[in-house]
């Protein structure tokens, strides 16, 4: 649902998507360290494949996005992660379109950054086995919010194609309710688990 295809949006919209991601990618990649690369690639692989897991809800088909999850796990590097995952999904699975990779990355990447912000503010990145419950809670919130924000951005962009914002939002959010719930639980549980077994994985960023 969240991958916009070619030819749906006006050119100015997807062109500005490319401009926005060029700026954010340049910034986030400049912060990348060698140690981050393996983690980045593993999460990217997960995000890439997650979109294949789909279910039919009402009249539409929804699939996992895992952008909030990427935000929690990777911090600002979630942005390049989502960009790479979307490029691969576009060319290998035919999800979305080539021209809209930019705007789709904005739709999923910006919420990922906000999800990270929520997680960071909530836990103050004080991640130890003792703070597990807090990490789980904010991980879950971030995981769910990431998806919701992506849907809101999608609905906002679809206004320009003549779709009513309110109706589209209600439609896509209702369809994604199971996805939101599962991703929230998944992200929360995994963040809590990592807090217990390998808290240094979150690290300072």
């Amino acid at each position: 649902m969240v991958h916009i295809s070619d030819g749906v949006l006006d050119p100015w919209l997807w062109e500005s998507g490319w401009v926005i991601i060029a700026v954010i990618l340049a910034y986030t990649l400049s912060k990348m360290k060698t140690d981050d690369v393996p983690k980045l690639s593993v999460i990217t692989a997960a995000v890439f494949v997650a979109s294949l897991i789909h279910m039919q809800v009402g009249p539409t088909s929804v699939h996992f996005i895992l952008n909030g999850f990427a935000g929690v796990m990777l911090g600002i590097l979630a942005f390049p992660c989502i960009f790479v995952a979307l490029v691969l999904q576009c060319f290998l699975f035919g999800h979305g379109g080539v021209t809209t990779i930019g705007i789709n990355t904005v739709n999923m990447g910006v919420p990922a950054l906000i999800a990270y912000l929520i997680f960071k503010t909530g836990t103050k990145l004080d991640i130890r086995p003792e703070t597990k419950s807090k990490v789980t809670l904010f991980g879950a919130i971030a995981g769910g919010v990431g998806v919701v924000l992506a849907l809101l951005l999608l609905a906002t962009e679809l206004i320009t194609t003549g779709e009513a914002f309110y109706e589209t939002t209600v439609l896509v959010v209702t369809a994604h309710l199971p996805i939101i719930a599962i991703e929230a639980i998944f992200t929360g549980v995994l963040a809590g688990f990592i807090a217990t077994v390998k808290p240094e994985m979150f690290g300072e960023k």
Partner: protein, 149 residues
Amino acid sequence: MKTVRSLLVLALLLIPCMALMPPVSAHRVYVAEQVTGVQVKAWYGGGDPMADADVEIYANTTNGEELYLKDKTDEKGIFQFEPKLGVSGYRVVVEATGHRAEETFNLMGGSGQEAAELPLFARVLAGFGYLVGLVGIAMLITARKMKRV
């Protein structure tokens, strides 16, 4: 006078001959085949149908392309339409909340075959392959950056 008479006899003889002729009319005839129904199906990757999606059918006439029909798919993602007589080229655009697919086909020739696709696991593996390559590049760049500092 003699020739006129023989012509007359010939003409009189021809009249009963015409009755013996098989019933053939001398018009030039045309046959046009007509496909009376086209079914269009739209589905999401993975096989779930695109229900209630907007469908636009463009007819490819000699005057260029024109919008022929505008409707919605049913709950199975199927839309049926009756083609225009004499127009065999069509372009179908299906769109639902940001998803869009199009298909051009010709009723005369079977140009609507599906393109062969790699099986899913191969595409997943290909994706992982690209990722491994990207990891290498990223490692190289970040390592060089660290060396410089």
